[in-house]
């Protein structure tokens, strides 16, 4: 953004080109902001420019006409606001508003840069005499959304990466496929000599003898009998031919079995690897990926899509290999026997190939549409089944069923559409193949008539051509499942191709056991284009407890997310023991941090497993100790299976306070140096809060603690309280000091004291999202 070489404010024009003409002698261009809206808020490129003397506005970049120009002496302030996706820059003078300029949020960071440059100029600390700020075209899209391009079969080749570890099995499978094909090609090859050398000549002789008018009936009989005796010798070979055919059939059966088994085994392993890799990769992605993705969508990508690929690999691909080998094999045989006849009969083949190709894209699109509808359905399930209590409480079962039905209708509609193409497709192929057969017969008869080929060749030929077309037909039927698999593979690779947005350091520094000294140095954080944390400075001594309060949307949860490195700061740095946390391996950094959330999550498993989640090899004695300190031991003993009770989804139901105490025990067990409490007591009643508070006191002791609290009363023990408002620290001090002085803290405290309803206040975990409420001071105190 501040690179002086990067002047590309306008795609083809530079800011200098637009502004240059009207600059006065000696006037220097300092910053420009390319907006995507003009003054009447139509989509058109407009430009604001800041020189060392003037503020210039160009309503239309194209015609380079300056529409407004103000001397900087008259401009007292420049501010930006945004609402509903549109931002507004306002320049005011002593008399009032001078200029109002608009932009969409895609250009918000540009506006911020322009503002910064203006402020810098105002405060007289211009960064660099040569410096120039060009803003507007650095559009940041944190979660790039992939356009719905039709899935390509080529994606399937990327699966080869997963086949590599099983190369020997793959080779074995292919060899078996080849052998199966070869075995299948033998029988017609045996019928050919049988017809031509034995059957046809004999039949010819018999016919001649029968129709010979020169001999009488009795003599004819004798002669035929003699011929039969004589033919016994060549006919003796027939059983050998039959044996050969039987043998090849048996061999084909055995080989096909082996091939099927080998490839099925292979595909099962490939798809298991695929699932594992995808799941592991999903875990390496940062938190914002999960907030942006619907759970159902992810679940279906990992489960059904990998299954579809497995089916494709084991079933379709096996058949496909066998079929294509068979087609090549038969085609070779056909050309070997009679190239002219082969060329004539295979004339429908290009037609079939073209038709398949043409239909393919329509099928692909149709299948992809079906999957998207399917995702929507799984999303509804993932949404309503965990939320079933809300559904029931508001008696909205019917509505949910309707919602489900609507999506289901979409699935049916999408599938209907693709099925229409689909069902038309393969009978069409069958018909083309039949035509091919007719051509073969006709042309074959002609070739026999022309004495080019024998009947034996024609029989064998027809046997091959029938095989050819059956295989071709079955291959085209696979187009469907191939397209399905391609769509699935694409969806999986979409996940795999996403790189983690919290990068691991190239040269990691190992934090080891830290002392717990935490410093936030000039940190700012932007989510998308929103500035959520704005230049926060805070130094926390080892063992100190700092409470963070503030209204909803003040950036409290974001601060914690930054400390845990769920996101990285946009500017500034977070130092632990004097070292930037970005230099630590993410995992080692998090090992030093204990996190207790407002709504603790318990995994399906025993209580002991849940407590030992952060340290799976903790001894039973340690688990019990941690549970005791967290005031969880006794209620656990009341459960019929004690620490072996199953909790989590489908498990024993625990109250919110009980779950919270288990999560505190979990944090205690890893003995973190830095502890982060995110509204740990706000979802429970006062009685439970006391118990949790006791448990927390044990936890907090001797650790650096950063606690967000919704109930200010829970922060009485804090050494220091930091009041955040709109991403900035507005007050710092102890509870008593803050209460004594006028300010936001006292407002919040009084609001809570007056309203006893604050206990069921809204959790403000959503504030890490891009929505930041405006003008919240004084009302809606939840924080």
């Amino acid at each position: 953004m501040k690179d002086p070489l990067d002047l590309g404010a306008v795609r083809s024009l530079s800011a200098f080109e637009v502004v240059g003409a009207i600059l006065e002698p000696g006037e220097r261009l300092l910053a420009s902001f390319l907006s995507d809206l003009d003054s009447s808020r139509r989509f058109r490129e407009s430009l604001l420019a800041l020189t060392d003397r003037r503020l210039l506005a160009f309503d239309n970049v194209g015609d380079r006409q300056v529409t407004h120009a103000f001397s900087l002496v008259d401009v007292s302030s420049l501010t930006a606001q945004d609402r509903g996706g549109m931002g507004t820059l306002e320049a005011s003078g002593a008399e009032g508003l001078l200029l109002r300029w608009h932009y969409t949020l895609a250009r918000a960071s540009g506006a911020a840069g322009f503002l910064e440059a203006f402020d810098a100029l105002r405060s007289g600390r211009h960064m660099d005499p040569q410096g120039f700020v060009s803003s507007g075209n650095d559009v940041e899209i944190p979660e790039a959304i992939q356009p719905d391009a039709p899935p390509r079969v080529g994606t399937l080749f990327r699966l080869l990466r997963f086949a590599r570890p099983h190369a020997s099995w793959l080779v074995l499978g292919l060899v078996l496929s080849l052998a199966t094909t070869a075995a299948g090609l033998i029988p017609p090859l045996l019928t050919w000599p049988m017809v031509d050398d034995i059957l046809s000549p004999y039949q010819e002789q018999v016919k001649v003898a029968r129709e010979d008018p020169t001999i009488g009936e009795v003599a004819k009989e004798a002669r035929l009998e003699a011929m039969q005796d004589k033919a016994a010798e060549p006919f003796a070979v027939v059983p050998w031919y039959l044996l050969g055919m039987l043998g090849s059939a048996l061999a084909a059966w055995g080989l096909a079995w082996g091939q099927g088994w080998v490839l099925a085994r292979l595909s099962e392993r490939i798809s298991a690897d695929l699932r594992n890799t995808t799941y592991a990769h999903v875990h390496s992605l940062s938190l914002d990926y999960f907030t942006a993705k619907r759970t159902g969508d992810l679940v279906s990508r990992i489960s059904s899509d990998s299954d579809r690929i497995c089916y494709f690999l084991s079933d379709t691909l096996t058949d496909f290999t066998a079929d294509s080998l068979m087609i090549i094999g038969t085609a070779t045989m056909l050309f070997y026997m009679d190239p002219v006849l082969a060329a004539a009969t295979l004339c429908t083949f290009p037609l079939v190939a073209w038709f398949t190709y043409a239909t393919r894209s329509r099928l692909t699109e149709g299948f992809a549409r079906g999957y998207r509808a399917w995702d929507e359905m799984t999303s509804i399930l993932a949404d309503t089944i965990p939320g079933v209590r809300v559904v029931k409480a508001f008696a909205q079962e019917k509505r949910e069923v309707e919602r489900f039905k609507a999506v289901n209708r979409r699935i049916v509609a999408a599938n209907d559409r693709v099925n229409r193409v689909w069902t038309f497709f393969w009978p069409m192929i069958a018909m083309l193949n039949q035509i091919g057969l007719v051509v073969a017969w006709g042309f074959g008869a002609w070739r026999v008539y022309e004495q080019q080929i024998t009947v034996g060749i024609l029989t064998a030929f027809l046997a091959y051509i029938a095989r050819f077309y059956t295989r071709l037909e079955s291959m085209t039927r696979m187009a469907g499942s191939t397209q399905r698999a391609a769509a699935s593979a694409q969806r999986i690779f979409e996940v795999l191709d996403r790189s983690p947005s919290v990068p691991e350091p190239a040269q990691p520094v190992h934090p080891g056991r830290i002392t717990g000294d935490v410093e936030l140095r000039n940190i700012s954080f932007r989510f998308g284009n929103r500035l959520i944390i704005d230049d926060v400075n805070l130094a926390i001594r080892p063992g100190e407890m700092v409470g963070v309060v503030g209204p909803t949307g003040a950036g409290k949860s974001t601060l914690l997310n930054l400390l845990c490195r769920f996101y990285d700061v946009s500017e500034g740095s977070i130092l632990v023991d004097g070292k930037d946390i970005r230099s630590f391996p993410v995992v080692e950094h998090r090992h030093n941090i204990g996190l207790v959330l407002q709504d603790p999550f318990l995994f399906y498993g025993t209580i002991a497993d849940n407590i030992a989640y952060g340290r799976p090899h903790a001894s039973r004695s340690e688990v019990v100790q941690a549970a005791r300190a967290a005031r969880a031991h006794e209620f656990i003993l009341q459960l019929p299976e004690g620490y072996d009770s199953i909790v989590g989804e489908r498990g024993q139901t625990l109250s919110g306070g009980e779950r919270q105490r288990i999560s505190i025990a979990r944090a205690l067990l890893i003995d973190p140096r830095v502890l982060i409490l995110d509204e740990a007591t706000s979802s429970v009643d006062t009685q439970t809060e006391i118990q949790i508070q006791e448990a927390l006191d044990n936890l907090v002791r001797g650790r650096t603690t950063i606690a967000i609290a919704h109930r200010l009363s829970t922060l009485r023990n804090a050494d220091r309280i930091v009041v955040l408002d709109r991403g900035r620290i507005v007050q710092t001090g102890s509870h008593d000091v803050l209460l004594a002085s006028e300010g936001l803290y006292r407002d919040l405290y009084q609001a809570q004291a007056q309203s006893h309803q604050d206990q069921d206040g809204q959790p403000d975990s959503a504030e890490s999202g891009p929505v930041q409420s405006q003008g919240i001071r004084g009302d809606g105190v939840h924080g």
Binding site: R620, V624, Q625, R628, L637, Q638
Partner: protein, 161 residues
């Protein structure tokens, strides 16, 4: 106060006239009506036996039953045996119908019985080979080692694992 209960010393246990367990504590009141509770009934049944009072508060904890004196161990084991009711399934005669809820007809170490299973989620594995089945009325049935069952029972059980 948290480590107070983690006693390594031998508790002094006795029985009072009502047959209740009484814990004598040096320098404190004795506690009657002691209820021994296994912390890890399946994964480590004989370690960490918590001695609770009638209100369910822990007053003493025994780290390892095997390392306590014979008399104490016997008292605790008798009390545990009196309280625990987890019949062991020896043979599954049949499970009907095919869909939930299912009725199980089983032979246990406490005789023949039937119970109702409302959801297959109530069948859980214990360690490697054990299976715990919680009937709809809350009674728990244990299969100590499913490999020791006869073929038919194993086949019936396999559907739920």
């Amino acid at each position: 106060m948290d480590e107070r209960n983690e006693c390594t010393d031998e508790p002094t246990l006795g029985l009072d006239g009502f047959g209740r367990l009484v814990l004598q504590r040096p320098g404190a009141d004795s506690v009657a009506g002691i209820v021994p509770v296994r912390c890890f009934p399946f994964t480590a049944p004989n370690e960490r036996i918590s001695l609770c009072d009638e209100q369910g508060r822990e007053v003493h904890c025994i780290p390892d039953l095997a390392k306590t004196g014979d008399q104490t161990r016997e008292l605790i084991q008798r009390e545990l045996a009196r309280r625990e009711f987890v019949p062991c399934i020896l043979k599954i005669n049949g499970i009907t119908p095919d869909s939930e809820p299912t009725s199980w007809d089983v032979e246990t170490d406490r005789g023949h019985t039937r119970f109702l299973l409302t959801s297959e989620d109530h069948v859980r594995r214990i360690q490697d080979r054990g299976v715990l089945i919680t009937a709809s009325d809350g009674v728990r049935f244990l299969v100590a080692d499913r490999h020791q069952l006869d073929g038919q029972s194993r086949k019936l059980l396999r559907r739920y694992l």
